[in-house]
């Protein structure tokens, strides 16, 4: 293909969008709707990932040491704890420190003034590498000599992991379905454009136009529709997400959820929307053209 034809081919592609105004409008609207849903699920999944990661870092196992052990013996157990596979770090908390934390946690409430350090045990705060293996690590910790008991909230960690997995699967399924829907709509729009110009295509083939020359305007049309949808969806997503984050920040009961700002995910979102728009546009038009090429 010669470079001097490129302008003509691009112009023809863009002309097609206006020639089939209503179908183009419908294709852009459906693409916007699909990409907004795809984008929403992607950003929700990303936020949930961050929350689960944060939870992984903050959730710990408390390992209580047998009261019969001396201070030195209690401290030496830390080495054995650190040798376990899934242990990221362990911090020794003496019974005196534990009492102080207890008093601090209860704002010096006089109801607990009778509690003495001897009533409590030395303990380790154990942070894990992988929270999904919390149950196994908890079992291993219980087996260590000198460990009286443990306190691990693995149901909560497992629950979060399950939600994360389910959301990932739902997101992937939805993204796939919605991309296919966008693809079909753009494909149909381009098919309509091709049907409308089937006589022109037949003449082009008859006088010796190459398939690439015939194809390019329709690919430009599909690509432009996909990109228009992607740009509009991106803007809409940005506004909607920012509004949602601002609203959530105002509700006290939702403070547990922390969402990243849209600016933090700007580049990946541009990449996701751009790639999705380009994909549905080009693949959608390419597949519809093939049927018309055997003239």
């Amino acid at each position: 293909m010669k470079l001097n034809n490129l302008g003509y081919l691009l112009k023809e592609g863009l002309r097609g969008i206006f020639l089939h105004g209503f179908m183009s409008f419908a294709a852009v609207c459906v693409t916007v709707a699909c990409l907004v849903i795809v984008g929403s699920f992607s950003i929700l999944a990303y936020n949930l990932d961050l929350m689960v990661q944060e939870l992984n870092q903050t959730s710990e196992i408390l390992v209580y040491i047998d009261s019969d052990l001396s201070d030195a013996e209690a401290k030496s157990i830390g080495t054995k704890i650190n040798l376990l596979d899934n242990v990221l770090q362990s911090t020794f908390v003496s019974r005196e420190e534990a009492l102080q934390n207890f008093i601090d946690d209860h704002d010096g409430d006089s109801a607990f003034s009778g509690v003495r350090a001897e009533d409590l045990r030395h303990r380790y705060v154990v942070v894990l590498e992988d929270n999904t293996k919390m149950k196994q690590t908890d079992e291993q910790l219980k087996q260590l000599p000198g460990v009286a008991s443990t306190n691990a909230a693995y149901e909560l960690a497992e629950g979060f992991s399950t939600i994360q997995n389910v959301l990932h699967m739902v997101s992937l399924a939805l993204i796939a379905v919605l991309l296919v829907v966008s693809l079909l709509i753009i494909s149909n729009t381009v098919k309509l454009a091709m049907y409308d110009r089937k006589d022109e295509i037949a003449i082009m083939k008859m006088v010796g136009a190459t398939n690439g020359f015939i194809r390019l305007p329709f690919v430009v049309e599909g690509f432009s529709l996909g990109m228009m949808g992607a740009i509009l969806a991106f803007g809409l997503e940005w506004v909607a997400y920012d509004t949602m984050v601002q609203r959530i920040a105002l509700v006290d009961s939702l403070q547990l959820f922390s969402f990243v700002s849209f600016q933090e995910v700007l580049i990946p979102m541009v990449a996701v929307f751009g790639a999705a728009g380009m994909f549905v546009g080009i693949v959608g038009s390419w597949t519809s053209i093939r049927k018309f090429m055997n003239v």
Binding site: N4, Y8, M206, V207, T210, F213
Partner: protein, 229 residues
């Protein structure tokens, strides 16, 4: 040059359109292809333009061997063969100039070349004063002239006219045939598929007659009559 060597063409339904056609049309010749409906004329045109491939035998058109041509070579074969149809196949929303320019543009011609060549070809077919008209504003004869101009504009070495006078009155038919004769005089090979016996007799050119997928006679009207006697 167009050369058919023992060409058989069978369709999927099992019927044979051509049963061993052998013929040769030299560069610069003017030739009629005649025969009743269903005799195989359309199949011959489709084989020449690369729409079909022969089931067996060999077809050579302007240096391309159709029995082993690659798909991506077909556009380049078609640039050597201009085709004119009975129903003109013009684009109504385009003007006369645009219809012809379109044929050049889609094969990658530069705008400068298009601006030079289109008026020249339109003058050749007698439409120089009607460049801004649309096909529906023109008579059948003028539309066929426009179709011929479009077929000619990329300077093919061969023009195939498939029933070019089928929709025209006798006077316009003669004009179109005279125009094709003029184009042939300029060195272009012309193959006219027709039912119009009067035109065939009037122009006294080589006539290839096809029936039931076979060449039944080949020569000028006079030669064929002599042979029959």
């Amino acid at each position: 040059m167009i050369q058919f060597i023992d060409v058989v063409k069978s369709y999927e339904q099992g019927n044979n359109a051509l049963n061993g056609v052998t013929m040769q049309i030299e560069d610069g010749e003017f030739c009629f292809l005649v025969g009743p409906s269903g005799s195989g004329k359309s199949t011959i045109i489709k084989l020449i333009t690369g729409e079909l491939k022969p089931t067996s035998g060999a077809v050579h058109v302007n240096g391309y061997s159709l029995e082993r041509i690659r798909k991506r070579e077909i556009p380049y074969l078609r640039r050597t063969v201009g085709v004119v149809f009975q129903d003109f196949r013009l684009i109504d929303k385009m003007t006369v100039y645009e219809n012809v320019a379109f044929a050049m543009r889609v094969v990658g011609a530069r705008e400068k070349e298009i601006k030079e060549r289109v008026p020249y070809v339109l003058e050749l077919v007698g439409l120089e004063g009607k460049m801004s008209r649309h096909p529906h504003e023109m008579s059948g004869g003028e539309q066929q002239r426009l179709a011929i101009a479009r077929a000619l504009v990329n300077n093919p070495s061969t023009i195939i006219a498939d029933e070019p006078t089928g929709n025209l009155d006798p006077e316009r038919s003669f004009e179109i045939m005279a125009l094709l004769q003029e184009i042939n005089n300029l060195g272009t090979t012309v193959l006219v598929v027709t039912h119009a016996q009067n035109l065939v007799e009037l122009f006294n050119k080589r006539v290839i007659a096809i029936d039931e997928g076979l060449v039944v006679s080949d020569g000028t009207e006079e030669e064929n009559e002599d042979e029959a006697e």
